[in-house]
Structure formats: structure tokens, C-alpha cells
């Protein structure tokens, strides 16, 4: 009798200690939802959402009570993904959705102050002191981080021009409902 009780209790103790140790040792520190959310965000840490980086915005979203339409580089597609991950209804984007846009520097008015170069989170602006700057169109993420630092307001968000090469087939309209 006593042997059985002792052996079972011993085993239980060992298992309990093992589990307790494992829980401490292998603890997942981050919020699993935040991990999923940060994977959806663009990852350039541009700060246009008002949080210091994508991770911070993802954490804020995971803890709740934050609007899901703050990521302007991600646009509508990211907002919809966030909505589906968080199980909330999609909302309109905070600013008017122009479709895909790019930052464009008016090279006639640029004074070459390099302020936008420093602000760009993905190094998509090239130029030197007192030389006109320009945006590398293929690298711009449209995060708008360069707009505010520009002292002469010569950067504008311009819709991307549709060409033969970025055109895509639209979805067929589908059958008309008769009733």
C-alpha cells in the first residue's frame, strides 16, 4: 500500500517539476496573435501609423482598442488581412484610397537638404547635399515618411501610372442575378 502511494506520488512530483521547469524554460514570450499580425504588416517600420515600428503597432492591435486602418503603405489589402486575423469587420482606410501611389520629388523645387533621405525607412531616395534628390520608384513603399520633413513641400504622393506591363486582367463580372 504505502509503496504504491509513494511511487505514484513520486512520479507525480517528478512530472510536476518537469512540467514546471519546461513552462519556465520554453516559455513563448510574445503574444502569438501579435506575431501573426506583424507578419502581415509591411515591416519597414516607417511609423506612419503613429507607433514606433510595425512590431509596436502589432502589439497595440493585439491588445485591442486600436483602429486597423492606420497602415498606409499596406493599404486596403493589409487592412483586410488584419480584419480577418482579428475577427473584426473591415473599415474604410483613414485617408482617401487613390490606389497604388508613389512619392515623387519635384526636382525643380528640391533644395537638396537630404532631410527626406534621412527619413526614408527603406533608403528609396537618392541625392546629395545641394543636389536635387529623386525617389527610386521600384523601392518606394508609399509610407509618406518623407512628406513631413521636406522644408519646401516638394514631395507629392502620385498615383502609379498604368501601363501594359503593370496592367492585369480584371475579374469577370459574373452572371447577372435574375431575381
Amino acid at each position: 500500500m504505502i509503496e504504491a502511494v509513494l511511487s505514484i506520488s513520486g512520479m507525480a512530483l517528478a512530472a510536476g517539476l518537469g512540467l514546471g521547469f519546461a513552462a519556465k524554460k520554453f516559455q513563448v514570450e510574445s503574444d502569438p496573435i501579435a506575431v501573426q499580425l506583424v507578419a502581415v504588416l509591411p515591416g519597414s517600420n516607417c511609423g506612419s501609423c503613429g507607433y514606433p515600428g510595425c512590431q509596436a503597432y502589432a502589439d497595440a492591435l493585439a491588445s485591442g482598442g486600436v483602429a486597423i486602418n492606420l497602415c498606409s503603405p499596406g493599404g486596403k489589402a493589409t487592412m483586410e488581412l488584419l480584419a480577418s486575423l482579428l475577427g473584426v469587420t473591415p473599415m474604410a482606410m483613414s485617408d482617401e484610397d487613390l490606389g497604388p501611389v508613389l512619392a515623387v520629388i519635384d526636382e525643380n523645387n528640391c533644395i537638396g537638404c537630404t532631410a527626406c533621405i534621412k527619413a526614408c525607412p527603406v533608403d528609396a531616395i537618392i541625392g546629395a547635399n545641394k543636389q536635387s534628390h529623386t525617389v527610386i520608384a521600384t523601392e518606394c513603399t508609399a509610407c509618406k515618411a518623407c512628406l513631413e520633413p521636406c522644408p519646401v513641400n516638394c514631395i507629392t504622393m502620385t498615383p502609379v501610372k498604368q501601363t501594359l506591363y503593370n496592367w492585369s486582367w480584371s475579374k469577370p463580372s459574373g452572371p447577372k442575378m435574375l431575381h
Partner: protein, 558 residues
């Protein structure tokens, strides 16, 4: 014995659209008169677009290079006639989007003069195959069946792959089109000469020319020439659409199936169109680049039909005008065949390397009025799909943008032949759904790649800034240490100097007072000079040290 079967196999499915070839099959090949203006697009092939290498105002001769190929999967573009380059501008082209493309606008001078330095290979069957391939690439030749894949790539099979069979595609399974049939009928010898060059370049011993049974004149003409060559055979194939598709033709002739995502070379076959064979012969034997092609102008919407030899860059309107214009019944003008062609937005679009036909169709020849209805799950599309895909399921997933499901249904194996849409009783635009699905998957892939790139770039920038900050801190600390050292040194020299100057002062004190002031002033300035020099030297030495350290740090970092 080669790999071609004596008894033909059939591929799965297929359809029998009314072929309407009798509209233009009897028209001999005619040369279209020189057009007033040519708009030569710089991207007439699959692959990277060309870069223009002429400027407005340049005089060009027929065959002059006007667009340079960019990389291996690209071919050059040549001037189709002699004349003046007026401008290089965006011009409408036969693309489903209706958007423009960069075109070289050439005003012909009427002389139609070839450049004089074109040289061919007199004995093409005795030269090294690589020379032939080079000629083909330089001539800008692409698959003239309509896919416009650069021919030199098909002529260069990867190492370790043996070409057992050269299959020449004279099937022309698209309804209406008759230009390949006329070419076989009238220029059979040129085709066969091209074939012998290709066989030599590929080092293959067997060639089959596949022709559908509805072209008896072409078959007899080809047979007559082929009889002289033991290694070349003509295979007469039963009529079935889409037999002219590469993979279907291979299955019919050899019984082999090209694996999903694979190429014909995976089963030891290379397929070329009959018109490509002629273009290759012109390029290799005479050094002439590809500057014209045969185009069938037909349909019930055009006054008279024709098989025309047209310079690339000729506006479609010129072809239609030559055929007497459109009738009032015309609903649609299509570039290419009726099954896989593209409806034109604008008749100013130029003829390009892939244009096999211009069809002016009336409402009873098109699906103009048909409205999409719901799928009734009849399974007709499953029966006709030549790839054995499930069009109905794919359209459903495409509609709901289930991109992962689309990949599972092997959407990318679809050749967009249109057989499913042709038989669909609910008039579902299946091919349109597949194109939308394909482009959505590609767009998603691109977006994922872009996101990855953004992350990498922002991480690199952060790392760079951190490194710069660290460097700044290090420099600051260094400068501080140096300035401290300098101060200490300066204090020391000053102390030494005062110690040295004391005896002289005492000596000067004995001299007359009148001379004292200038002398002492001179001494002081001399002392000052000395200390300034010392400080300067110390500074220069420190700067040199700092520069050296910075250089070392840089090389370390590198």
C-alpha cells in the same frame, strides 16, 4: 527507328469549331504594297523588351537594327524597310489592355532597299551548329505560330538533353487561319531547306511535319518535296482543336506526354512552326533578319479575304483597306485566331511577329451577345480539356480568389486554348477567369517578394545607422583623448619655454630701456610663433593618426 509513332495517338478532349478556312484558303500569297508609315513595336517577343538604338531623323535601310536585345531571353528588332525614323513614341498595339507600347515610327522612302552588308552562310550544313544559332538570334526570329518565344533558345537545348525528334508544326488548328497552309503549298522547298538547317543545328536525325487532314493541297506539296529526304516525314493528322498546341502535337505524334511544368525537350522533342523554318532559312542562308510575316485577313466582316506578306509594323487598317474595308456587319476585329486571339481596341495597332491573322467577325461568328450564366455542373469542360484539368472548379476558385486551391488544380498547366469556354452551355468566360487567377497568383508572389525586400532594406538601414552612431561615438572619444593629450603637451612645452626664456630675459634686462620694448616684443612673438607651430604640428600628427585609424577601421569593416 525514331520516336515518332506509325500509328498516331490522340490527346484527351479537344473540340471541333467550324473551321471557316474556305473563306481564304484559295487566296495565293500576295505582298502588301508598302504602307505610308510603319510603327514597329520594341517588344514583339516573349521576354525582356528591346532598347531602341536609333534616334529620330536617322536614315535606316531594310534590315538595319533598330532595337537591341536585352539579355538571353530577348531578340532584336530590325527596320522592315528603308526610310527615315520619324520618332520613337508610345503607340497603340494589339494587347488586351488597350495600352500603348514604345514603337519606332519609320516613314518608308519607297526604295525598299536592303542593307548591303548582309551575309549568310553559303554551306549551312557544314558549319558548327553554334554559328547557326548565332545567326538565328541576330535575325530576331521568334516562334511564328503566335507564341513568339525566341527561337534561338529552343535551338539551344540544355546540356545532357538529346533532341530525338524535330517536330514541325503545320497543323494550323485555329479556325479561319490559312497562312501556314498557303506557305506549305507555295513554298514547300523553302520550308524543307529550313528544316535541314534546323536538323543540323540540333544534331537530330528525325523530323516529322504534322499537318491536319483538312489541308490536302499543303500535304501533297510538302510530300512532293519531302520525298527527296529520307529523315523527314509528313504526318497527316485528324482534325482536332487544339492539336497545334505544342504539348498536344507531341502526344499525337510520339505518344509521349510533356510533364506538368516541363518543356518538350524533357521528352526529347523540339517543336517549330513551318513559318519559323522559312525565317530560319532566310536568316542563315542570306543573313536576312525577320522583318515580315504572312497574315491571313479573313472573316465575314471584311469585303474580300487574303493571305498577305506584310512588313512588321504595318497598321492593321492598311491590311483591311487592301481587302476592301469592313462591312457594316462587323462586330469585332481580332488579331490572331478566333480561339486564342486578342480583340483589337484600335485598328491602328501594327502587325507584329506573332500576328497570324486579322479576323473581322460579324455577330453570328462571335460570342458578342452571350451573357454569363451560372454553372450547371454538366461537366462538358472536363470532357474537352486537352490537359485534363478541371475548368469548372478552377473558374469557381478563381472567382472566389482561392489562390492556393488554384495552384492545387494546376492552373499554370492551362494553355488557355479556350476549348472549355467554347463548349460551356452557360457561356462562362472560363479563360478570362483563368487569366485573372494566374495574374492574381503572380501578383501575390510579387507582393510577398516586395515585402521581403522592404524588410531587408529597412533592417539594413537600421544597422547602418547604428554603425554610424557607434563610429561617431568612437571618434568623439578619440578626439577628446587627443585634445586632452594636446593640452597636456602644450602645457608642458609652455612650461619648458618659460624655463628657457627666463635667462634671456635677465640678460635683456641689462640692455638699455629704449631698445627693450621692441626686442622683448620680438621675443614674445617669436615664442608665440614657436608654440603655434608646435600646436599645429601636434594637430597635423593627430589628424594623420585619426585618418589612418579611420582607414584601418574601414578596411576592417570591409
Amino acid at each position: 527507328m525514331g520516336i515518332a509513332l506509325t500509328t498516331l495517338r490522340s490527346f484527351h478532349g479537344g473540340v471541333h469549331p467550324a473551321d471557316n478556312k474556305s473563306l481564304s484558303a484559295h487566296r495565293p500569297i500576295e505582298r502588301l504594297p508598302l504602307p505610308k508609315m510603319l510603327y514597329v513595336p520594341l517588344h514583339q517577343h516573349l521576354g525582356t523588351p528591346c532598347e531602341p538604338c536609333v534616334k529620330p531623323g536617322d536614315k535606316v535601310l531594310k534590315g538595319d537594327l533598330i532595337g537591341e536585345a536585352q539579355g538571353f531571353v530577348s531578340v532584336p528588332v530590325h527596320a522592315p524597310t528603308s526610310g527615315t525614323v520619324l520618332e520613337i513614341k508610345q503607340h497603340t498595339v494589339g494587347h488586351p489592355s488597350g495600352f500603348t507600347m514604345l514603337c519606332v515610327v519609320i516613314e518608308p522612302d519607297g526604295r525598299d532597299m536592303w542593307r548591303s552588308d548582309l551575309v549568310g552562310i553559303k554551306t549551312p550544313l557544314q558549319v558548327d551548329p553554334s554559328e547557326i544559332k548565332k545567326k538565328i538570334q541576330e535575325a530576331g526570329i521568334v516562334g511564328l505560330g503566335g507564341a513568339t518565344f525566341p527561337s534561338h533558345i529552343k535551338m539551344s537545348p540544355p546540356k545532357g538533353k538529346v533532341v530525338s525528334l524535330l517536330l514541325i508544326n503545320g497543323v494550323e488548328c485555329e479556325p479561319y487561319l490559312t497562312c501556314d497552309a498557303r506557305l506549305m503549298q507555295e513554298r514547300a522547298r523553302e520550308i524543307v531547306l529550313g528544316i535541314t538547317i534546323m536538323m543540323h543545328a540540333l544534331q537530330t536525325k528525325e523530323c516529322v511535319i504534322g499537318i491536319e487532314a483538312n489541308k490536302p493541297m499543303a500535304i501533297s506539296a510538302m510530300r512532293k518535296v519531302v520525298d527527296e529526304f529520307q529523315q523527314i516525314k509528313v504526318a497527316v493528322l485528324p482534325v482536332m482543336y487544339p492539336q497545334g498546341a505544342e504539348k498536344q502535337l507531341i502526344e499525337v505524334v510520339t505518344g509521349r506526354q510533356v510533364p506538368s511544368g516541363g518543356l518538350p525537350i524533357d521528352v526529347g522533342v523540339i517543336v517549330h512552326n513551318v513559318a519559323t523554318a522559312v525565317a530560319i532559312r532566310e536568316a542563315v542562308e542570306f543573313g536576312r533578319p525577320l522583318i515580315s510575316r504572312l497574315v491571313t485577313v479573313t472573316g465575314k466582316g471584311v469585303k474580300s479575304t487574303a493571305n498577305l506578306e506584310v512588313l512588321l509594323g504595318t497598321p492593321v487598317q492598311d491590311l483591311i483597306n487592301f481587302c476592301g474595308g469592313l462591312t457594316y456587319k462587323t462586330k469585332k476585329v481580332i488579331m490572331g485566331g478566333p480561339m486564342m486571339g486578342t480583340a483589337l481596341h484600335n485598328l491602328e495597332a501594327p502587325v507584329v511577329k506573332g500576328t497570324s491573322g486579322i479576323l473581322a467577325l460579324t455577330s453570328d461568328e462571335t460570342t458578342f451577345q452571350q451573357k454569363e450564366q451560372n454553372c450547371i455542373r454538366c461537366g462538358s469542360c472536363l470532357k474537352v480539356c486537352p490537359i485534363r484539368l478541371m475548368p469548372c472548379e478552377m473558374a469557381w476558385h478563381s472567382k472566389h480568389e482561392n489562390l492556393d486551391a488554384l495552384k492545387e488544380y494546376n492552373l499554370f498547366d492551362c494553355i488557355e486554348c479556350g476549348s472549355c469556354a467554347f463548349v460551356c452551355p452557360a457561356h462562362i468566360p472560363l479563360v478570362h477567369y483563368f487569366r485573372f487567377g494566374k495574374i492574381s497568383i503572380l501578383a501575390q508572389k510579387q507582393a510577398d517578394q516586395a515585402k521581403q525586400k522592404v524588410k531587408e532594406r529597412s533592417q539594413r538601414k537600421e544597422a547602418r545607422i547604428a554603425k554610424e552612431e557607434a563610429e561617431k561615438e568612437r571618434k568623439k572619444a578619440e578626439m577628446k583623448a587627443q585634445s586632452d593629450a594636446r593640452k597636456a603637451q602644450a602645457a608642458m612645452t609652455a612650461a619648458q619655454q618659460t624655463a628657457e626664456s627666463k635667462p634671456s630675459e635677465t640678460a635683456k634686462a641689462e640692455t638699455p630701456v629704449s631698445q627693450e620694448a621692441p626686442t622683448s616684443g620680438g621675443t614674445i612673438s617669436e615664442d608665440d610663433d614657436k608654440s603655434v607651430r608646435a600646436a599645429r604640428a601636434a594637430k597635423a600628427a593627430a589628424a594623420a593618426r585619426a585618418a589612418k585609424e579611420a582607414r584601418d577601421a574601414k578596411t576592417d569593416a570591409n
